[in-house]
Assembly symmetry: C2
Homo-oligomer: 213 residues x 2
């Protein structure tokens, strides 16, 4: 114990988390260009020195807000999928979990705003792409599993469907945000799935109800 | 002729058009928050007085750029639809015409950026909604016509499908912009239609080829 250095004030993981939370709210409210780093620092109550120990610039802060939210959301979506048995049910459950996050996470808008604002910057755009393709990968894996389980037609291009679903959901959530403040997001997402699922599903494939265990 | 006042320099419709074109390029490059009104004025070569005669503020300018582009695009989409006979073919032709515009109009990105940036402003958001709902109306009318023509199932909710298509296309164009600079927009839009059309189409409804005229 004698060898452990005393923690330097403001340099711990909790402080980093607090900065990310404050920054996410600021980016959600005013976007990347409209957010002043000084205002974020003031909101955290940290000294500039303590703040810059964690994040050297607004760009680094924004990238980390985006990245940590994406990781958190992907983990929650995958966790939600775990509640269902079949891959197709997992996919639908993930969609609902993502609607939950849009409805309840005050930082949800930060993710959308940062994605498009940073994505317009030619130097930062390459760093945004992996987050999109990560969602493509998750959905593609589920669709391939659903093909193996006999729920999705074998001749369906799982990658193409995954990309259409992710891109369409992004557009739907932006439209829902503008028109209803996300009040109708779930309904719009369900309407999307109602249009896509009949095309990819194996016809007349009605699974037997799960046996009582 | 003697009664016609000489046009005051810089106050004509041509000047207004020139301002809108310069502003659209600036908003496409740097977004609303990132665009300086002074830079736009300098790019037009106008005096501040001549500029402010047309647009009293950056907000007024951005709203007019967005509105005029939306009107131009809707007109081009409707014109493209006129090249086809059936309502369902018109709808698909409109989608292709919109892909053309995204591929060829250097101001296309201004429309997307302004939509989301102005849409985040609580005071301006209500002014952005009618442009979205106008696209919903155009597609809904075509889908209802396609129902009357026997190409789309009567039990399909034309409004819901129209809204899903518009919102999904917006997301697809944003994703395509980020991932490929719009190079794969048309392919992604076609994949969306390939997933939605089989669900709404009247099954086995194969129209006879148009007679030679």
């Amino acid at each position: 114990m004698a060898t452990a250095a005393a923690p330097v004030r403001g340099r711990g993981e909790g402080t980093r988390r607090c900065i990310l939370d404050e920054a996410a709210l600021a980016f959600a409210r005013t976007g990347y260009a409209g957010t002043s780093l000084n205002d974020v620092i003031a909101a955290t109550g940290l000294t500039k020195g303590a703040f810059y120990f964690h994040f050297p610039s607004k760009e680094a802060l924004a990238l980390e807000v985006f990245s940590s939210k994406q990781q958190e959301w992907a983990a929650k979506a995958v966790e939600a999928a775990g509640r269902k048995e079949s891959a197709l049910d997992k996919l639908i459950e993930m969609m609902h979990a993502t609607c939950d996050l849009h409805e309840t996470d005050p930082a949800a808008r930060a993710v959308a705003r940062l994605c498009w604002e940073l994505g317009e910057d030619p130097e930062l755009a390459p760093q945004m792409k992996p987050f999109l393709t990560n969602w493509f990968d998750i959905l593609e894996d589920l669709l391939r599993a659903a093909q193996k389980e006999g729920d999705v037609r074998k001749d369906v291009d799982a990658r193409a469907v995954a990309e259409v679903c992710v891109a369409s959901f992004i557009g739907i959530s932006d439209v829902s945000h503008l028109l209803s403040g996300n009040m109708d997001l779930r309904q719009r997402a369900e309407q999307l799935m109602d249009l896509i699922l009949p095309t990819i599903r194996v016809q007349n494939n009605r699974r037997a109800p799960a046996p009582m265990t």
